[in-house]
Symmetry: C2
């Protein structure tokens, strides 16, 4: 770096450092992908050392004092920052944000967090195995204490709360108060909808979800769908892993994974379309901005809105199945004989309140999230003791989903997040569903004949709309601002509820 400083502007040097740090992050991304998908078991020990080394180097690169000086120089340079929506101004603004956050945490706290998170996962696994919250409780109390101290380091505005400071890591600019305003009507309307659905004597057939289908054919089928909706296989791959994910190094090398079960092609299809949606977002970031905030995703919530777009708005629509349904015969032959269009579409949209978040359907999923959000917010505020989590958890499941949690393993011990010291993360899943529905309503308004396109297997107009309206902006707008910019309205529960009610009530004969 130093040898070229003389001929570079401060902005160029800053962007160079950003790209260097991001290059290390991309290398770590590739190693993480390899670990889940390719690495033989013997590689584990040194892989954690490799990843720790890359994380350290990335942190060093980005928190160097020189970055602080460059930021100050750039901020004072009107040519760089005068137009707040310009790429240079956005990059300086966002790098300043990242730099301040990264330098605000003392090294001891970062180290303590890494240790607690590592120990936490270990103890949580044991506790879940024994289905005994009490053995996890002392460690979770330590984690909550650490989370409060971490939030103090970050700080928050007077009208905010500690939860906001933590959520900023995942959903910049988002506050618990804003979330509450959208989640409360969502919860009440969802409860009403679910009561209606569960009370109905009509429901879609489940045949499609119990159909044994050849795994090799399933693989070709879901790959074909990922390609059809616009995932670019010249700039990405699709492999298999225990838990599906989207990773990779940068917008031109995006790695997706999915998984297969002999008797549930719907699971593989949903996972593939979900991860392909994340991948299409990553591939839609502009190459010219790679390694800078302008070439990065807005937030986890917006990322999730893109995965849910293809998984739910497209992949569980009647129009999609009108096109995809004949493909079942094409790929699986007579094995798919029993599945007509309504069986396929219905099977993709069954609603069943259950205990486990990751197995939940499109409608009940959000209830799982809201319960977690309410709990972690109360804990951080001091309104709830860690020891009382199981009782409150179970009461909320009875209230929101009408089911009785049988044990901690299927209750408050099911998720890894808190054990990893990730608080403020959960709501991004439901924010994703909300943004997704609101974006999709706007796309439907702005692209004539979108459903008719789906019926013909044409998804390019929707993808291009997402590319232009969402992906190309990188981190130019905060999630809430992007939503207003794209849809003309603040985030609301209405589009998601219209989507769910409009689809599910007819399927359940209401």
């Amino acid at each position: 770096m130093t040898t070229m400083t003389a001929t570079r502007t401060p902005y160029d040097e800053l962007a160079h450092i950003s790209r260097s740090a991001s290059l290390l992050g991309g290398t770590a991304g590739l190693l993480g992908w390899d670990q889940e998908v390719m690495m033989p078991p013997g590689g584990l020990e040194y892989r954690s050392l490799q990843l720790a080394q890359l994380a350290r180097l990335q942190h060093q690169t980005f928190t160097d004092e020189r970055v602080g000086d460059l930021l100050a120089e750039c901020e004072a340079d009107a040519g760089v920052t005068d137009d707040p929506d310009s790429a240079t101004a956005v990059n300086v603004r966002e790098l300043r944000r990242d730099y301040d956050r990264q330098t605000r945490l003392p090294a001891e706290l970062v180290e303590e967090e890494a240790k607690l998170a590592s120990l936490g996962q270990h103890i949580w696994q044991e506790a879940r195995r024994k289905s005994d919250f009490t053995t996890f409780r002392p460690l979770l109390e330590k984690i909550v204490d650490l989370m409060r101290r971490k939030a103090e380091c970050y700080g928050w505005p007077d009208d905010g709360e500690a939860w906001d400071a933590l959520a900023e890591d995942y959903e910049p600019g988002c506050t618990a108060k804003q979330i509450e305003e959208v989640f409360t009507p969502l919860r009440d309307r969802l409860r009403t909808l679910l009561q209606g659905l569960m009370g109905s004597s009509t429901k879609p057939p489940n045949t499609f979800n119990e159909l044994p289908l050849d795994l090799g054919r399933q693989r070709r089928f879901v790959r074909g769908i990922a390609e059809a909706i616009g995932f670019d296989f010249d700039r990405g791959r699709l492999d298999i892993s225990t838990h599906p994910f989207c990773s990779g190094s940068h917008c031109n090398d995006v790695r997706l994974t999915t998984r297969f079960h002999e008797c549930n092609v719907n699971d593989a299809l949903g996972s593939t379309m979900h991860e392909a949606g994340h991948g299409i977002y990553e591939q839609g970031l502009l190459t010219e901005h790679v390694g800078t905030p302008m070439g990065s995703a807005v937030s986890l919530g917006i990322h999730e809105s893109q995965s849910r777009m293809w998984e739910n708005q497209v992949g569980r629509s009647h129009a999609f199945w009108k096109w995809a349904h004949p493909k079942l015969r094409e790929f699986f032959g007579s094995a798919a004989n029993g599945v007509d269009l309504e069986t396929a579409y219905g099977g993709a949209n069954i609603v069943t309140p259950g205990f486990i978040r990751v197995e939940a359907d499109e409608a009940t999923y959000n209830m799982h999230i809201m319960i977690r959000f309410e709990l972690e917010r109360a804990i951080l505020r001091g309104d709830l003791e860690v020891g009382d989590i199981p009782e409150v958890w179970n009461a909320k499941y009875r209230d929101y989903l009408g089911i009785d949690v049988p044990d901690d393993a299927r209750g408050c011990l099911q998720d890894i997040h808190w054990s990893m010291a990730a608080m403020g993360y959960f709501p991004t899943y439901t924010l994703g569903n909300l943004y997704c529905a609101q974006f999709f309503e706007t796309a439907m308004d702005q692209i004539p004949g979108l459903e008719a396109q789906f019926e013909r297997g044409k998804f390019g107009d929707l993808k291009q709309w997402l590319n232009e309206n969402i992906h190309a902006h990188g981190r130019r707008y905060r999630a809430a601002d992007l939503c207003e910019h794209v849809t003309g309205k603040p985030l609301s529960a209405d589009p998601l509820m219209r989507h769910l009610e409009g689809k599910l009530r007819p399927l359940y004969g209401l």
Copy 2:
């Protein structure tokens, strides 16, 4: 690093830096593997940036002034260096060697080399496509000039020559004079053997090399053989690439590749056993020494001796085929009907003088290498002008192999090495064959009933012998010393010639 310096000995700190640099190298190794085996085409541009960044970080880590200070402190510490064969003394000796070499090259020369090598490969590819040496000549002259300057920077002893200084990068401690002493009798005896074989009216049938066999079955077959000879799939993988190679991050994560042709399972088998041999060496390095010279391979020649051990000494032996031949029926069914034991064994051992090194058989291969060695040595000495390469090349092919090179593409333009500024590299291939034959003779002496074990598919004793006598030493001995240590004799052409003559003469009815 700095935070722990106070509590560490200089040796511990030095070893820590060695491991850090090696960890970065291992990450680069994984990225290189991914590039050849997994990466989508879009990833190429950023992959080169990632690799360049890792190379720069590795170089910085290892050439830091602190390393020089630590080396001096360690060298002055009798507890560390008193026993020259101890792990600590070996590590200090070898790290000193590496450090001195790495700090001896001026940055400008390293940069010039990288540029010339990159340009060289481009121009060489074009020249080979047009089969026109004259378009490559000016660049090769520049490369030779650079190689001379590089050798000057490294320096060499009074009784040596520039070639030695370059070869040191690949085969530490090896000199052109030593090579000449072994290569000259090898060349003369090989020429006599080849003339005999080519003059014979008897030769092995070629049926086995023209047999169409299902690619999926070929894949399972060669994987099974790699497993049988001792490659540990819990600490490694086998995949497919255009050019087979062995790579990975460290001894517990070794990545092999092979390739398949419908009509030549022998090629896939040979490539797989060859790369598995490299892999077994890497897996045989001791985990406790990972990231230090004691946990690293001796030289390219010794590495090649391990790949050739399994490819040639085992994989082309009658004993091996006595065990493997029935497997052809097991894996390929009636498709392997025409192949009896002698057809399989004979097909694996056909000798055909040809133009292309990488397609050469076990016997003629060494002639290709010796021709290249003689030429590059003469060029570096100034005894041969670059412009005269094609003429001398072709004359030597006529003299050593009895064939007339039809054009430059099939002549002096066939190899990439010189265009990459790799001079002093070629002989390591034949050194590998020589070391391999000499090691194997010793193993045959020391392990009773080795051939009978092969006939029963038992390869564990040979692997363990290699583990103990070669792999476990890391870089404790130079190649020549290791040879004496293991076999009790200096390197000689005799074992390789005994092996080739003993096998090939009977096959050709001599």
